[in-house]
Symmetry: C3
């Protein structure tokens, strides 16, 4: 258990304490409706104001302008949601007991250079000529291919796979089951309609502070590299094809798929299961809602969507039939308009 006094948390956050008991022990974080007297909570937006009166938290983080809305102990801070994010790190114990050593069952090939204070877990395999920076953690059963270069403070979770020559920056977190640097999907049909493999000679370059989710796959480039810029966050089960480029601080939610040679700008957000066709560009500050199909370049920042939402299946069936008659229906409307205008 990790405990802090309210005073310690306020100092960590540079927040003002509004409480007579700065020495109160805080053992964790919880939502407004579930927090107990030894936990701290937070008001992330106006829709949660209704939960304040009954809140049982030991303290609540809120904006100075909301101070009067809560009578209990509080920390006043401009961005309580960001404060919650920062506090969450303090209470995370997932890596507390990791031994900083190379487990005897791990296999380290020749030419590998490991930095200081590194953990390599059981049955991990690090292939020849890999370089790994200081303070990095390689999980159980991971495979790190030949010539891979990983920066400092990386966390590679169990059973991740990294193919040869991939380059990864500092402070990167890769989750279990992700596969970085597998072959891009490239084939040329021969005269007999058989597929001739295009060997994928590029690699994958991943910047600093990138997080990559479980079972996400990022393919190596055909001739040049697939590039994931600094600060990009990618959720689970995302597929990024060869030669893509994802700009700084863009966040991609689960189940998205990007076809080859597509470029996404900076500070974009893709909600879940978005599909983006290949060989297009999406500019900076674009937000795409869930399950949207993007079929051409987006040159103007903004929010983009496609698709339709669930309704009763019997109603949907009738509409779906009509959808596939839409062009003809418009012709009928046009004919009516022409008749009217005669």
């Amino acid at each position: 258990m990790t405990n802090y006094t309210l005073r310690q948390l306020a100092d960590y956050l540079s927040a003002d304490i509004d409480s007579s008991n700065a020495g109160l022990t805080i053992t964790g974080i919880a939502g407004l409706t579930t927090a107990k007297s030894d936990q701290i909570s937070f008001l992330s937006g106006p829709s949660y104001l209704k939960y304040l009166p009954q809140c049982q938290a030991g303290a609540v983080m809120l904006r100075p302008e909301d101070a009067a809305r809560y009578q209990g102990a509080k920390l006043l801070i401009d961005n309580p949601y960001l404060a919650y994010a920062r506090l969450s790190k303090l209470f995370d114990q997932s890596h507390d007991k990791i031994e900083r050593s190379v487990h005897p069952s791990a296999v380290i090939a020749k030419g590998v250079k490991l930095g200081k204070n590194i953990s390599v877990a059981a049955n991990a395999v690090i292939d020849r000529d890999v370089v790994i920076g200081d303070d990095s953690i390689i999980g159980a059963g991971c495979y790190i291919g030949p010539n891979v270069c990983i920066g400092a403070r990386a966390q590679i979770a169990a059973n991740a796979s990294i193919y040869h020559s991939v380059v990864i920056g500092d402070d990167v977190l890769l989750h279990s089951g992700c596969v970085i640097g597998a072959d891009g999907f490239g084939f040329a049909p021969d005269k007999d309609n058989r597929w001739c493999k295009i060997y994928q000679l590029g690699s994958v370059i991943i910047g600093d502070r990138v997080e990559i989710g479980a079972s996400t796959t990022i393919d190596r480039g055909a001739l040049e590299d697939t590039v994931i810029c600094d600060g990009v966050k990618i959720d689970n089960q995302v597929h990024i094809a060869h030669n893509c480029r994802i700009g700084e601080n863009t966040a991609i939610a689960a189940n998205c798929g990007l076809a080859g040679s597509t470029s996404i700008g900076r500070n974009c957000t893709l909600a879940g299961a978005v599909g983006i066709v290949g060989h297009i560009d999406v500019t900076d500050n674009v937000h795409i809602t869930g399950m949207t199909m993007v079929t051409k370049s987006i040159t103007t920042p903004g929010s983009y969507s496609s698709g339709s939402s669930a309704i009763d299946t019997r109603e949907w069936r009738k509409n779906a039939v009509r959808y596939n008659q839409l062009n003809e229906i418009v012709s009928r409307v046009k004919a009516l308009e022409n008749d009217r205008n005669k």
Copy 2:
């Protein structure tokens, strides 16, 4: 080879035999059109009646009211499809020769408590303080993180990954490549538009009799737990985000994605590639057809759908253009109506 007499199968199923040869040896199960004289088949519904006359099976399972429709040997039972399911277990040999021991290459950390009759396959890694119940099977290359608790009779297939502190019930089957308890996708933007990680302090709680497919990912909760209730069946490549709750006996087909904090009721079925937005509730007994996008809570049991079906690409292109003019088209219809009503 596992063989049974027709009598043995009838006894196992509590079915009536209608055959002069109860001692017939049955070596397997097959469909009506492919079954041979040493195999048993089944009539799962009226659409298969047409295959009965030519059926070569050693015996067929059908409902008593259908008995007259088949002249060969038969087992009479109320639900032949369920009977097939029950019989399939008898003929499954996938685990027959599994050695009930810990392979010397497996790595078992300190504090681990293993039940009786457990199998831990080669190169599996079981981290500190894990508890595993009797008769469980841990596949090759699996990683079981610190403090994980797994019940009795679990089957964890090769190369599955389970993060720290996940709790799993009895009679659970996890397939290869699944990842349970990776971080939920949570970040707060700071004032420079960088993403500040929200450490995921909850866990994943999985009930009894749950099956989880290959490469499926279930993320740990942000503050509370992600919960998968008893009897839930999840297919391959499903993504379940942090803080979701899936009710008892709900079945989720492949490629579905559930965003964070969404709750699905009991006895629901999601067909393939359904996407469900975050922070909504789907009530009990809801059925959602394939590739549907659910964007708001569903409060009434029933069947729900969205999307449109494949047609010739040239036709589709014209209709897709019209779809994005729909609101304007409706205005034109309204104008026509107004003119008519003048």
Copy 3:
């Protein structure tokens, strides 16, 4: 570094050299806009003609009829894109240094038969009675289940999982994280609405020259086998359910999902994230565009599509509402037509 003279490349491709310097050293391949004087490039189609004048490549591959369009050194060949594919193999070094031996940490169970010149990497696990053909490469951490049979020249990348009794042909490439032969998703509801598992007694049969992407899952059949025919290419994160059959040389892009018992013909292409319902047939030479939902059999070769494309979210919201009123809108058009025709 692998180097070839222009003459060597021309001979390998059976291309004509149009250059005064057949001895020029070529160290790699690059696109027309990035190629340097020691690299070879190619003109894959007319849209790239504009890049020829500034091209800095040591040589360019183009069709004889395009020879006059480029002044520098060139190789003349009928299909430059196919030539590029063939050359890419020469410059691929990913397997150059793989040791042809069984790593001491690999676990090989009893009854396993390994061909000649095989590589089994660190911590791979090969279960009992597996047969693997000559020149095959098994990556680190792979699990090959009991009775699996793999042909010659297979490449199984790190952390792939293959369940019992799967059969794989010659010249097959499986990428990391793929799972072949997990249970199909089959359950029969019992009288209490609990799911009774249907044990999956079939297997997966994979032909020659098949490539299967990272994190792709192909489930074993319920009673018969799931079949992937010769020359099929499957990208990452594809799900193929039990009892499917994929015809020769069909290519399936990332994130597609095929429900159970569906059959796809020969020489088809599925773009990304296509979903296909179960128990239907798609004939030969069918091409399906990205994110299309296929809900019934396709009996005529051609291109098929569904869905709609991204637009501004505010516009989309209005249209999406109208979509769910489409049938009623058509009734209004019909009423207008009836009134006009009176």
